[in-house]
């Protein structure tokens, strides 16, 4: 059958798709290319230089923001993964669960609400309570909105898993904890891992909530970048952006590979 008569083929889609991918990646490429530009004005190319990388790596404010972001993301990932794991086990495996649907909606609620609403709501709560610890505020808020991202892959994994192995383990006199540790957890680990990766990336990426809650001492990376953009384009910004783009691409690839392996094991 010649392709001309292939009824499922629509002409022009190939070039359109090529253009589409160019559109997806060109803006990122522009940032990367300009990061090697020696000129202070990002848009005017003079010659290749690594000087902005050097000055970015020596920027103490940037490193502090990075440290804050990593600390918040690590804490939020830990909390949200544990909360999500417990909730997923209860929702998928729990017996005669009365509030199953409601609980699931509650866990997924951050996905349905506009983030800015949640951000200002949390800001009001913390100011009413008079909470001063900026780091703690960020960790609590991040843990809440990261939970659904950690929850969904674990739930998917648990739903695709047969109960037989856990029952076999119980038949062999393993107690609950041993069964969980030696049978359940290893089996759902790909889900837990990709959920944790997602939670980590979502936390690192967050601007809206962090911008509302962050105080002088606890500026996260996106909030710091926002201030750089606002204060006029700093030439270091492109170098910082390039490093971050690279880091996200590597992390995302790891998470997606883990998810793909999980899906393959399940099949």
């Amino acid at each position: 059958m010649s392709t001309r008569h292939d009824v499922k083929r629509y002409p022009g889609l190939g070039p359109l798709t090529v253009l589409f991918f160019a559109y997806l990646y060109a803006p990122l490429a522009v940032v990367v290319i300009y990061s090697f530009n020696a000129n202070r004005i990002a848009g005017v190319w003079t010659h290749f230089s690594l000087q902005w990388y050097a000055s970015a790596l020596n920027n103490a404010a940037l490193m502090n923001a990075l440290k804050t972001s990593l600390t918040v993301a690590a804490a939020a990932t830990t909390v949200s993964s544990m909360v999500a794991l417990a909730a997923a086990l209860a929702i998928v495996r729990g017996k005669n669960l009365r509030f199953r649907k409601l609980s699931e909606t509650i866990v997924n609620l951050p996905l349905l609400l506009p983030e800015i609403v949640l951000a200002v709501a949390t800001l009001i709560l913390f100011s009413l309570v008079g909470m001063q610890n900026g780091m703690l505020k960020l960790i609590i808020a991040h843990s809440a909105f990261c939970t659904p991202f950690a929850f969904l892959p674990i739930r998917a994994r648990l739903q695709g898993m047969s109960l037989d192995l856990e029952e076999a383990s119980a038949d062999l006199y393993a107690d609950r904890w041993t069964t969980f540790r030696r049978v359940t957890l290893p089996l759902i680990f790909p889900g837990v891992f990709s959920g944790a990766m997602l939670a980590f990336l979502i936390s690192m990426d967050d601007f809206i909530t962090s911008n509302m809650l962050s105080t002088g001492g606890t500026t996260t990376l996106p909030v710091y970048i926002f201030s750089l953009i606002r204060s006029g384009t700093s030439p270091e910004l492109n170098a910082i952006a390039t490093l971050l783009i690279l880091a996200s691409l590597v992390l995302a690839t790891a998470a997606l590979l883990a998810a793909a392996r999980g899906a393959r094991d399940n099949a």
């Binding site: 009824v7 499922k8 083929r9 889609l13 190939g14 359109l16 798709t17 997806l24 803006p27 990122l28 940032v31 848009g43 909390v79 909360v83 417990a86 909730a87 086990l89 209860a90 729990g94 509030f99 609980s103 909606t105 509650i106 997924n108 951050p110 996905l111 349905l112 609400l113 506009p114 983030e115 800015i116 609403v117 949640l118 200002v120 709501a121 009001i124 709560l125 609590i140 843990s143 939970t147 856990e166 029952e167 119980a170 609950r176 990336l201 990426d205 601007f207 809206i208 990376l221 996106p222 970048i225 926002f226 953009i229 492109n238 952006a241 971050l244 783009i245 996200s248 691409l249 995302a252």
Partner: protein, 309 residues
């Protein structure tokens, strides 16, 4: 609504044969109830209360019931207390809707053909292309918006490129609704392509052949067979793009400049220190209500469609 969509894919209920997981339900759900109760439900209840509180003299608010926050969306209070209709904030709400709607439509317009093309690739290449669609989404949102600032801004890539072809120097495409829209389409595009792709992949190819056997040309087949059968993916994609678009903050703040606000950036501004908290809370509640109405509406439509089939 989306909740029912989440449950639609769940396995039929199966009760574990052993008492192994007994007692798990309560202790397993406790942490999530505590976390969501403290960091989600309580704050939302408080912001609902603040939206009907009274604005404090020096920022903040006092707990006196007052609908001024909501009234301020439509009316401006003069010195003598008379109300004057001001369309300023109504225009921001309207802009929010128009930009979110336009973002959804433009994403859809590109997502359907691209997803269809990806679907028809051999498995290996298909997986690679889906991966390439997903990848930019994991780059920090603020950086994706920033990339468009260097492309469209003064001395940016696009003005320089046009200057080369004789356009006047010093062009800038920033600080207008078009710039905001450009950044929004770019940031939310993967959220449309992926569900449409998932839906197209389930499409039975023989139905397309059947349509052609019945003398339907490509256009008729697209309109009468392919699009109706991918409706679930299109609706899911529309929800995933439209809902965050309504709450967009970064795009209007950075690309639209100070004046072309959307509801999200307006809320942010009201909490920027010493501003009008009850008014900000009222706008936030309005935004949340609009999102909920949209979700319930699409959920009901999907449910009706489901029973009709």
């Amino acid at each position: 609504m989306t909740d029912s969509a989440l449950h639609a894919t769940a396995e039929p209920e199966r009760t574990p044969r052993i008492r192994f997981w007994h007692g798990l339900s309560f202790w397993g759900l406790l942490p999530s109830w505590v976390l969501m109760g403290l960091a989600l439900i309580l704050p939302i209840a408080i912001i609902a209360a603040v939206s009907v509180a009274t604005r404090g003299a020096h920022g903040g608010f006092t707990w006196d019931f007052n609908l001024a926050g909501y009234r301020h969306i439509l009316f401006n209070e003069g010195w003598t207390g008379e109300l004057e209709f001001t369309p300023q904030y109504l225009l921001i709400i309207l802009r929010t809707f128009v930009l979110a709607g336009a973002t959804t439509l433009i994403c859809l317009l590109f997502a359907v053909p691209v997803a269809y093309f990806i679907c028809r690739q051999p498995p290996g290449r298909k997986a690679a292309l889906v991966y390439l669609v997903t990848l930019p989404f994991w780059v920090s949102m603020i950086l994706r918006v920033y990339a468009w600032m260097i492309i469209l801004g003064k001395e940016g890539t696009l003005p320089r490129f046009l200057e080369y072809f004789g356009a006047p120097a010093g062009l800038s495409f920033m600080f207008n609704d078009g710039a905001t829209l450009t950044a929004m389409v770019y940031t939310y595009m993967p959220l449309m392509v992926l569900p449409v792709f998932a839906s197209l992949e389930k499409l039975d190819g023989t139905l397309i052949e059947a349509s052609h056997d019945l003398y339907g040309d490509r256009w008729v087949t697209l309109r009468r067979v392919i699009l109706p059968l991918t409706a679930p993916g299109i609706i899911a994609g529309a929800i995933l793009v439209f809902v965050p678009s309504l709450g967009a903050v970064l795009e209007p703040t950075l690309m639209g400049g100070g004046k072309q606000m959307m509801m999200g950036s307006l809320v942010q501004l009201q909490f920027g220190g010493g501003r009008n908290w009850p008014f900000g809370a009222a706008i936030a509640m309005t935004l949340m209500a609009l999102v909920m109405i949209f979700l319930i509406f699409t959920g009901l439509r999907t449910a009706r469609r489901g029973t009709a089939l």
